[in-house]
Symmetry: C2
Subunit: 233 residues, 2 copies
DNA sequence: GACAACCCTCGTACAGTGTGCGAGAGGATT
DNA sequence: AATCCTCTCGCACACTGTACGAGGGTTGTC
């Protein structure tokens, strides 16, 4: 009956803050630094301890385990997202700003990608954003469950669009590759797929960063249009 | 000039198959078993070696490193995706079938979620699906870069929708939690967000599996509608 | 002052991880 | 018979998360 409860950090009382030298905030901040600099694999308890001039296991006083720490860092990044009031700027504008903001934050903290499919986002910052999204699509005219469907569709698009972008950046990073040689390899790999070949021939002379930004806007408009269409029928 | 080339398995010549007892295919198959049974953390080279009655390091003859092995397993799962010919069933039907198929495959192999943001999908199976998607949206009437934008939007939706589903399943699995106690905790956590509260009060008496399927269809129709709208203007 | 109760730190240890290296077995080729 | 090529694997290294328990420091109570 009283089984082991669900173990997210957010669903249990935090240790009451007595504000000594070290604190949970300080630890999370240092963890964020490490994550941003070296990625998800760059964060280890020993390195984090060293960065704080502490023993690795000292951190376990503030945090039950590494996953909890990641949950805290994860949520901290959601704090940077700008979510305008839809009653002031209109729902489409609010949604658009949020979408771009989420994308930017994700690109700036690529390690988030590794957590998306593993940890739930239940922290206060994530909830704040989620709440704003609900508000936005309610304002748009959705009711009942459809509010959640719309929010889910919207966030799905933003996540799904940004994630492969991160994966691509990650594989490119640190490899000073020979562009021509790689192009040749890709062409060989896609030899059997005429449609793919056509695409590869196309995008050679475009800046991929710009391309992706354009693609993002194209898709965003499409998704918002598609959602809006649910309202009129 | 000739820097270290990009290191995906797919972009280098495979070791020529001499078909001994052990083979790459066999190894990948065993890895898939392990991944499906125990998840991404359940796969270790030593365990995999034991499963094949081999030493852990023997596998490195067939595979350069663990990431390559994951790329191979990753691509193998794309083989299970059904992608109908859009010229036969129409582009909307083709897209819809692909979307559901991708979702099903991802839910059946949840460890894929951990790889989405980390490894590129460049294997033959992934390319086959990508090619079909291009074909589908070309058939729909898109031209030039917009074909790729449409494909990206579409896949983004499918990924983004399924990923949180997997994350949720993962956190629930193995924790025989007290539903009421957890509900109470969630309510406390969302106390500051009236819109969220409203939602939580709502979905208590619905089967979450059904809800998610409905949400997926709702979003899918929205996204396809939104894309279709790009064609008429 | 003495003693106890706490908050907090950290050294040690354990069971694991990926993988580089190099010795060797066995078959094929010259 | 000698040489080479394909393949296996034990060992070792550096590293991981974290359980445990011994201690130090501060605070509170008699």
């Amino acid at each position: 009956m009283t089984g082991k409860a669900y173990s997210s950090v957010w669903l249990r009382e935090p240790r009451k803050a007595t504000s000594p030298g070290r604190s949970r905030e300080e630890i999370v901040r240092a963890a964020l630094d490490l994550l941003d600099e070296e990625g998800i694999d760059g964060l280890s308890m020993r390195k984090l301890g060293a960065k704080l001039s502490a023993g690795a296991t000292s951190l376990y006083w503030y945090v039950a385990n590494k996953d909890e720490l990641l949950e805290l860092a994860y949520d901290a990044t959601w704090g940077a997202i700008t979510a305008p009031d839809p009653d002031e700027v209109g729902w489409r504008e609010a949604a658009s700003v949020m979408a771009h903001s989420v994308r930017q934050v994700m690109l700036r903290h690529p390690w988030i990608a590794s957590l998306l499919g593993r940890l739930p986002a239940l922290g206060p910052n994530a909830l704040r954003v989620a709440d704003r999204m609900r508000q936005t699509f309610k304002r748009a005219g959705f009711t009942g469950f459809e509010i959640d469907y719309a929010v889910a569709t919207f966030t799905a698009y933003v996540y799904g669009m940004t994630l492969p972008e991160i994966a691509w950046n990650a594989t490119m990073a640190g490899h000073d590759y020979d562009a021509d040689a790689m192009r040749e390899q890709v062409i060989r790999a896609t030899a059997d797929f005429p449609d793919m070949r056509e695409r590869i021939d196309m995008d050679t002379y475009e800046d991929p960063r710009v391309m992706r930004a354009v693609a993002f806007d194209f898709g965003l408009v499409s998704v918002l249009d598609g959602l809006e269409r649910r309202l009129v029928t």
